[in-house]
């Protein structure tokens, strides 16, 4: 049974992405008791799946590593992975949280040696790589995963693979009898940092994401470009492994569209500009990039980055929201539309099309587990009626990492004020 020591002064953080992790660390480092609940088997959220960060083009692993070290050494922080908050009762200063924990089937004895993975045969779609590759039925979610503990896919339970994994482990870390648990504990304030998810590209019917293998999303492209990704960082296309040199980016895929997401996802212009540099870096003179856009939203300090990418000769900017994509007999996506600068029709053939997919809240609007004010897009609103529950990061809006982290620090302060009030400390 999982034990959690908590009081009304404990701060509960829901979601262990960069925002939740930041809020949890900031609060824990002031001496507050913090419980961090993360749905995935590891921390880091979606930034762990990015290759580089705009605008500096540094690696997300760098910042994550620092955060993870802070988390490991802080005695005030309790981390629960594969866990979800299913209920929250009470009011600011005295809540009771209900958390459901899924079994990992691997305990703390695990040294991440990987012997179990070698023994297991079954393979499944790798969710870390957005399904672009496969992983074993016993796996470390990604190379820097924290906690650095393997996971057993529940689908191998009851098969010979499960027994093989157990037999292969020299540390007695595999426990096939682990059960799902539901626990309750008190807390005084809650930071809600469940983040975002990519909009379902298949719903943008004219772009054929579900019909054409060489139409992919921007989150998948991050995995393609990453040297530790499914292609070892080679920009090749899914249908036939051909080198993808002529690449199109289509902006506002799902965003700013009353048929899909009402809001501008705000980061995708910058994400595509960043990805243009991946292509230019990979192929040099041979790169041939087309970026289809309505208008480029690289705001304030990002303007410099935009100017830099504009200066890359191999990158063409086409002011147009493409009407549709079809596929030719060689599996090339052909993008159709009208260039609004001059009203010229085009039908452009590319090796690969990348949809700059919109960000939507990761928790469904209609099944939010706690009582909270949401805006029409499903993001959390700051509202006094939320009591001691505060949003952090992209659960509140489509934010980049810089803004998400600033927002998370603010949320930590608010939560600290609430629990200080509960403890009778002057806030």
């Amino acid at each position: 049974m999982t034990e959690v020591v908590a009081t009304n002064e404990t701060i509960l953080v829901v979601g262990g992405g960069i925002s939740g992790l930041t809020a949890a660390l900031e609060a824990a480092e002031t001496g507050k008791q913090v419980v961090l609940v993360e749905k995935r088997p590891y921390l880091g959220g979606r930034v762990s799946q990015l290759y580089k960060y705009f605008p500096k083009l540094c690696f997300p692993t760098c910042g994550l590593e620092i955060h993870q070290r802070r988390a490991k050494t802080n005695p005030n922080l309790r981390i629960l992975t594969m866990a979800e908050v299913t209920d929250l009762k009470g009011e600011a200063g005295k809540y009771t949280a209900t958390v459901k924990l899924k079994p990992r089937y691997v305990n703390e004895n695990c040294t991440a040696c990987g012997d179990c993975a070698k023994a297991v045969e079954a393979e499944f779609e790798d969710e870390y790589n957005y399904g672009l590759g496969k992983r074993k039925g016993a796996y470390l979610p990604y190379r820097m995963a924290h906690p650095a503990q393997y996971v057993l896919d529940p689908r191998i339970l009851g098969t010979e693979d499960a027994e093989r994994a157990k037999a292969a482990c020299k540390y007695n870390a595999i426990d096939l009898d682990m059960q799902e648990e539901t626990i309750e504990f008190p807390c005084g304030a809650v930071i809600w940092a469940t983040g975002w998810r990519p909009y379902d590209a298949a719903k943008i019917q004219p772009y054929g994401y579900d019909r054409f293998p060489n139409v992919i999303t921007s989150v998948e492209f991050e995995r393609l470009a990453d040297p530790s990704g499914p292609t070892g960082g080679k920009l090749v296309r899914p249908s036939d492994g051909k080198e993808a040199k002529n690449i199109a980016f289509i902006q506002c895929a799902g965003s700013r569209d009353r048929n899909h997401l009402l809001h501008c996802s705000r980061i995708c212009c910058m994400a595509s500009l960043k990805q243009c540099t991946y292509v230019a870096d990979a192929w040099g003179e041979e790169a041939d990039v087309s970026l289809y856009y309505i208008d480029i939203r690289a705001i304030d300090r990002f303007e410099d980055f935009y100017t830099k990418v504009r200066a890359i000769e191999q990158v063409k900017f086409i002011k147009s929201k493409p009407a549709s994509i079809v596929q030719d007999q060689d599996g090339n996506p052909v993008v159709h539309g009208v260039d609004t600068e001059g009203y010229k029709r085009y039908a452009n053939t590319h090796d690969l099309v990348v949809l700059a997919i919109g960000m939507e809240p990761s928790v469904d609007k209609d099944s939010f587990p706690v009582d909270i004010v949401l805006n029409r897009e499903g993001f959390i609103e700051a509202d006094p009626s939320n009591g001691g529950v505060f949003a952090a990061g992209s659960a509140s809006d489509a934010l980049d990492v810089n803004r998400a982290v600033q927002h998370a620090t603010g949320a930590a302060l608010r939560a600290i004020q609430v629990v200080n009030g509960a403890a009778g400390v002057e806030g």
């Binding site: 700013r256 009353r258 048929n259 899909h260 009407a323 609004t340 009203y343 029709r345």
Partner: protein
């Protein structure tokens, strides 16, 4: 109001004129010029100005070019643009609204086939309260003169015969043809509708 009165009234504010006088015209300002409608129009390459360009021209005050253009007459009401427009503009309806407004002001390009057909259809309907397909077909074939008409009729005779065979067209309709039971009632209804429409236009234009 006549064309000159309208020019006098709105001067450089063509967008306002469209908003006040064209059906669904108040939507034009919502267009963000993304171009998806233009790229989605299956006939787009055959006409001068795709919808998004027309909307920009309206905002730029290109009154004459817009109202005398044949673009809005080429719209086939396929609705491709409407379903894709990220701002949900009722583009097809605006196109028809513009065509209607141009017609009211007498600015339809001469020999514009859609406009001609619409007029033939209307005149045909007004006679008996029902469309006489045989006569409508014939007047359409002879729209461009007698010789052209004979040629078209010969070329399409198979289609005509098949329509007769399947009961879609009755050759006896040439002798007057059937109508609605209460023709004078029908005409009164149309007249009333016309009055309401005129009142609406007069109010908007005022």
């Amino acid at each position: 109001m006549s064309n000159t009165q309208m020019i006098e009234k709105y001067r450089t504010h063509f967008l306002r004129e469209v908003e006040a006088n064209v059906e669904e015209g108040e939507w034009v300002k919502m267009c963000m010029q993304c171009g998806v409608c233009s790229g989605s129009c299956p006939l787009g390459k055959h006409w001068a100005h795709p919808p998004q360009e027309i909307f920009m021209m309206i905002r730029a005050g290109k009154r004459e070019e817009v109202l005398t253009s044949d673009s809005m007459w080429m719209c086939t009401s396929c609705y491709n643009c409407i379903v894709r427009c990220p701002r949900e503009l009722p583009i097809t309806h605006i196109m028809h609204g513009l065509a209607h407004y141009a017609k009211r002001l007498g600015l339809v390009p001469e020999n514009q086939p859609t406009a001609k057909f619409a007029q033939l259809f209307w005149d045909n309907l007004m006679k008996k309260g029902r469309v006489n397909e045989l006569k409508l077909g014939l007047s359409l074939y002879f729209m461009n003169g007698f010789a052209e008409g004979v040629k078209t009729s010969l070329a399409r005779r198979k289609l005509g015969m098949n329509m007769v065979k399947t009961g879609r067209m009755n050759p006896m309709e040439i002798l007057g043809g059937h109508g609605v039971k209460d023709l004078s009632g029908f005409k009164k209804a149309i007249q009333k509708a016309q009055e309401l429409e005129d009142a609406r236009i007069a109010k908007q234009g005022a």
